[in-house]
Symmetry: C2
Subunit: 312 residues, 2 copies
């Protein structure tokens, strides 16, 4: 591998998969600090030097584990955007509703979808259908707006760690269908979803679905377990052959597990000066590889860094 | 599968993988034509009813086959954007330069990269380095502009079947790093590429690379063979373990093969009224599933349909 990296035949890019950054010391001579300031303008160095206060623990109450034969997919829920759906999904999970159900659809450059493909499995104490939560009022919602123009929405940015959009004129906000975002599948009736089937975006952004589905969270670890799944050969990436389905071993809420069995994660906060600097370091790349900094950045091209929780 | 599709627990989307559309008859009663006109406003129906003149054969001289153990990846070259690189790649291919070389990098939501990881394999009659072709003059270039705003460029659209951008003030045009686009890797020196290592975008758009790499074409068939590859565990998705490398069996130019051994493909032309209608059908989805048509579309969210060549 040394040879590969040595000759630099690589494209520079922030890893889209979770970054595992480490803290660095601040007591350095001025010359070293100046060098550090220069290096800190690259995304990787920016993360490495981010203060502890720039990180937040991901709440175990808002964390789903989807355990697959290949490993664990970790999803952070977004109750601030979809309170009724998230409550219903919590009920479904605690009843073991998803255990043994399949990933039945994998569409290239689009989506993986899992849950009940028949719509007939008992939902027990939960509900099969929940009224749509496609958008919510702007009021009461933290929002770090990007200055960059967006193709789809009047304004885009981040809210509590999720990529989001809003319309200031109508006072509405919604989550954006970026890579890794999780939403509830539904039929043609807007209120026909409920969380019994969920999808994750495994390819390019699917922004045409914004305000058409209830978004319930984001995959914060384990995306490659979904993005590398064999694609379905049927329409919309449906698996024609049930033998191609991947069986979900179980879905759990992290808080229901003893701490030793949890995947303790921290995410970079999206409402701090550090995050703003991180975004700027992506907007105008100063890594020596880049010849033309873009000057702009798309909301879906900003990976939200996640790391294993630092023991203090 | 009937059950799955029956209850509609699916998200409607145009398949990002090549669409294989079929022609339909036009001699129908008025009522059926009216129904047809309504259905034709969906992307799938739009493609099904596209006239033969809306399709173009992909030139075998501009077609690369990358034969992997898993199957064939078909790449359409873009000599109109990178004449020197394409000429050099043709020489490399005809010398068998890529045969046996690996896919040595697979970065989730980003890129797969292949070719010579050492920079030492003999290039024979070809050149190891070719001066950068990041952009070209607007003059002489067909361009179907989109009216939609773009985050990264003053104007975006399509040129000869490729997603592209241009700056009318400076009179420059370049290809966009959308899903499936292929470019030449390079070191920090802008002129250090040459086509001995190539990459394909396998995740979200990498528009920050626009005008930073020489784009040489687009994967027109076989993307799932790249997008499902196991991700590399090293920095930037490099495989730490060479045993994870995928060996390229051979790379060939289609025109060098007898017709019976070619993958004969046609692509939807991007300079016709049909294409404009197709884009509009994606911009404002009229499928019954959609509640809120987006009203806008991103240049990277418009899959360019490809089908097996129709025998006439």
């Amino acid at each position: 591998m040394r040879k590969v990296l040595g000759i630099g035949l690589v494209l520079a890019a922030v890893a889209a998969s979770p970054c595992r950054a480490q803290d660095t010391a601040n007591n350095l001579p001025p010359a070293v600090q100046a060098l550090h300031a220069h290096l800190a303008s690259t995304p990787d160095a920016m993360l490495a030097s981010a203060p502890e206060s720039a990180w937040r623990a991901i709440d175990p109450d808002d964390t789903l584990y989807m355990n697959l034969p290949q490993g664990r997919v970790v999803i952070e829920l977004a109750p601030q955007f979809a309170p009724r759906y998230v409550a219903n999904i919590r009920k479904l999970v605690r009843q073991g509703f998803f255990d043994g159900l399949p990933i039945f659809r994998v569409q290239d450059d689009a989506v993986a979808e899992w849950g009940d493909p028949t719509g007939r499995k008992s939902v027990g104490m939960a509900r099969r259908m929940v009224a749509a939560e496609f958008e919510r009022p702007v009021r009461g919602l933290p929002f770090t707006a990007l200055p960059d123009p967006d193709t789809y929405a009047p304004q885009v940015g981040f809210s509590d760690g999720f990529p989001a959009a809003r319309d200031p004129v109508f006072g509405r906000a919604w989550l954006a269908n970026c890579y890794g975002m999780v939403g509830a599948a539904r039929g043609n009736n807007v209120d026909s979803g409920g969380g019994t089937a969920l999808y994750a975006v495994i390819g390019g952004p699917q922004r045409q679905w914004d305000r058409n589905t209830t978004m319930i969270g984001r995959v914060v670890e384990g995306m490659p377990l979904l993005s590398t799944l064999p694609r379905g050969q049927g329409p919309l990436g449906m698996h024609r052959d049930r033998h191609r389905w991947v069986r979900i071993e179980s879905v759990q809420i992290a808080a229901d597990l003893p701490p030793a069995k949890r995947t303790a994660l921290e995410a970079l906060r999206t409402d701090t000066p550090t995050f703003t600097q991180y975004v700027e370091s992506l907007r105008n790349r100063r890594d020596p590889w880049f010849k033309v900094p873009a000057g702009r950045i798309s909301v879906c091209s900003i990976p939200i860094p996640v790391r294993s929780k630092v023991n203090t």
